[in-house]
Amino acid sequence: MISVTGMIKAFNKGDVNEVTALSGVDLEVADGDFITIIGSNGAGKSTFLNALAGMFPIDAGRVVLDGTDITRWPEYKRAALIGRVFQDPLLGTCAGATIEQNLAMANKRGLKRGLGKGVRTRDREFFREKLAVLGLGLEDRLKTHTGLLSGGQRQALTMLMATLVRPKLLLLDEHTAALDPKTGAMVLDLTDEIVGTEKLTTLMVTHNMKEAIAMGNRLIMFHRGRIVLDIKSEEKKNLRVEDLLQRFADLRGGDGVVSDRMLLG
């Protein structure tokens, strides 16, 4: 259970460039919820995910995860509870380390690191099994440096790393946006499979409306730093892209045209 109340975040406070990225976000996430998040550019989606991950302190509000108030926890400490996949495939893995070293580091997420061997022989079998699920042949390339992998391979590996130690919350921020359509679809299938079989509580940001409707059990829309739409279970199943666009236009009081990028998505 995650509960966010009154989350506010402004950047460049007191400066002419001040922007309020989040202006009071409330969200209750039930265990096992798979929520897709949409919204136009600059709506605050990434800021929201980054705030949950603890990348910066928030100006107001509270984040409670499974009864523990983690509002003041630093990012590295929250990492024990949260798995992440970024938009940039380069961010999720360590290029200079091998596949098995990356997995070994991920296998210790939130656990104490000691002076034992970094990669243990018995872990290798486990890593091979997990890698085989990706269907990319990486299970035979344990000693390959991840810097040599393609963006899609790295993103699939990051997905695996983020879930190797079961996270209480999985955060995916446009994690297929930087990939070509085919690779993106592969990573998305993988997401569906891992989240589905492990029943992970997940927040996934996407600009693709069809994706947002097809995946997960709940859909929320950000607009100007707030959640303006929250569509759940049954209602979401029957949702069509046109409905979504209509409701977005209604919300804006018919004052504007829905952004191109959202339409195209």
């Binding site: 400490k77 999720g92 360590c94 380390a97 997420r109 939130g110 690191r113 000691g114 970094g118 990669v119």
Partner: protein, 300 residues
């Protein structure tokens, strides 16, 4: 080059070997250009000299020097991570502060170890070898032992987190590692090695001097770059050994340069910082020029 000069250069290479390994740890692994070393090398020399003259064992004095260097490095790391001062500036501040501290430690600009027994003397007596053989051997043994320990460390769970901190801070933070602590420890460790090297150098030349650290970082970088160019850096283990051997090659190159004569012009020791700086610039710019050159050819 005479045999005698060659052994002298090898001896220097290993005396400064721990310094070069320290520079490798910050510059290459942590991606933290650290100028503290210009202050922590004389710091190690001062601490060792004062410790020996006040009756401590020369071997213990090396560990005391290492401890002092560790603290100096930690301060640079804290300035950077906790007070958000740019790494270069943080390390310059430490370096400048260390100049005053080193003067305080010795109470004067330099300190001779005349008549004091050093690790160099003890090892020579113990082995019964000629000093020009025993000293390089002693320093080489120390350096390879440290390299072996570092290779082991960098393959532990903590070691992987250390490597990843310099490579991809966001990734390793997302895996639950407090990178501030890693940086503080890493810069500390690096300067502990540099200070230990300073202690060895002081014991070898029989004196500590506040100005002996000038140009340490540049000599360290030159050695690291020569090492990786000649011996390769495919794995960390290899790169560590390469850095150490790079230190030896660098001192041999300097010995050769000092022996050169062009008509009436000859290179003096005071020219070395300039030559080393130029060498580092060339080494840093070369890959870019090579890439441009290759790209240009590919178009044709």
């Amino acid at each position: 080059m005479t045999f005698y000069a060659f052994f002298g250069a090898v001896e220097q290479g290993f005396a400064y070997g721990l310094m070069v390994i320290g520079v490798y740890l910050t510059f290459r692994i942590l991606d933290f250009p650290d100028l503290t070393v210009d202050g922590s090398l004389p710091l190690g020399a001062s601490v060792s000299a004062v410790a020996i003259t006040s009756g401590h064992s020369p071997l213990v004095s090396i560990f005391m020097a290492g401890g002092a260097g560790f603290l100096a490095g930690m301060i640079t790391g804290i300035l950077n991570t906790k007070f958000k001062i740019l790494h270069l500036l943080a390390s310059i501040l430490s370096m400048i502060a260390l100049y005053s501290i080193n003067l305080r430690i010795m109470g004067r600009p330099n300190m001779a170890l005349l008549g004091q027994e050093t690790v160099v003397d003890r090892f020579r007596e113990w082995t019964g070898m000629l000093p020009q053989h025993s000293t390089p051997l002693l320093f080489a043994v120390i350096c390879f032992a440290v390299v072996a320990v570092l290779i082991w460390f960098l393959h532990t769970e903590q070691g992987l987190a250390f490597l990843a901190t310099g490579d991809n801070m966001q990734m390793i933070t997302s895996q639950g590692v407090n990178t501030d602590n890693v940086i503080i420890f890493g810069v500390g460790l690096s300067n502990a090695l540099v200070a230990a090297s300073g202690a060895l150098v002081a014991q070898n030349q029989g004196a500590a001097d506040v100005n002996m650290g000038v140009g340490t970082i540049v000599a360290g970088l030159a050695s690291v770059i020569i090492g990786e160019t000649v011996f390769g850096d495919k794995t960390v283990s290899r790169a560590l050994v390469a850095a150490l051997l790079g230190s030896v090659l660098y001192r041999i190159a300097i010995a050769l340069a000092l022996g050169m004569k062009l008509g009436s012009f000859s290179i003096t020791p005071s020219d070395l910082n300039l030559i080393t700086a130029v060498l580092v610039v060339v080494a840093l710019v070369m890959p870019r020029i090579k890439r441009k050159f290759l790209a240009g050819r590919a178009v044709q």
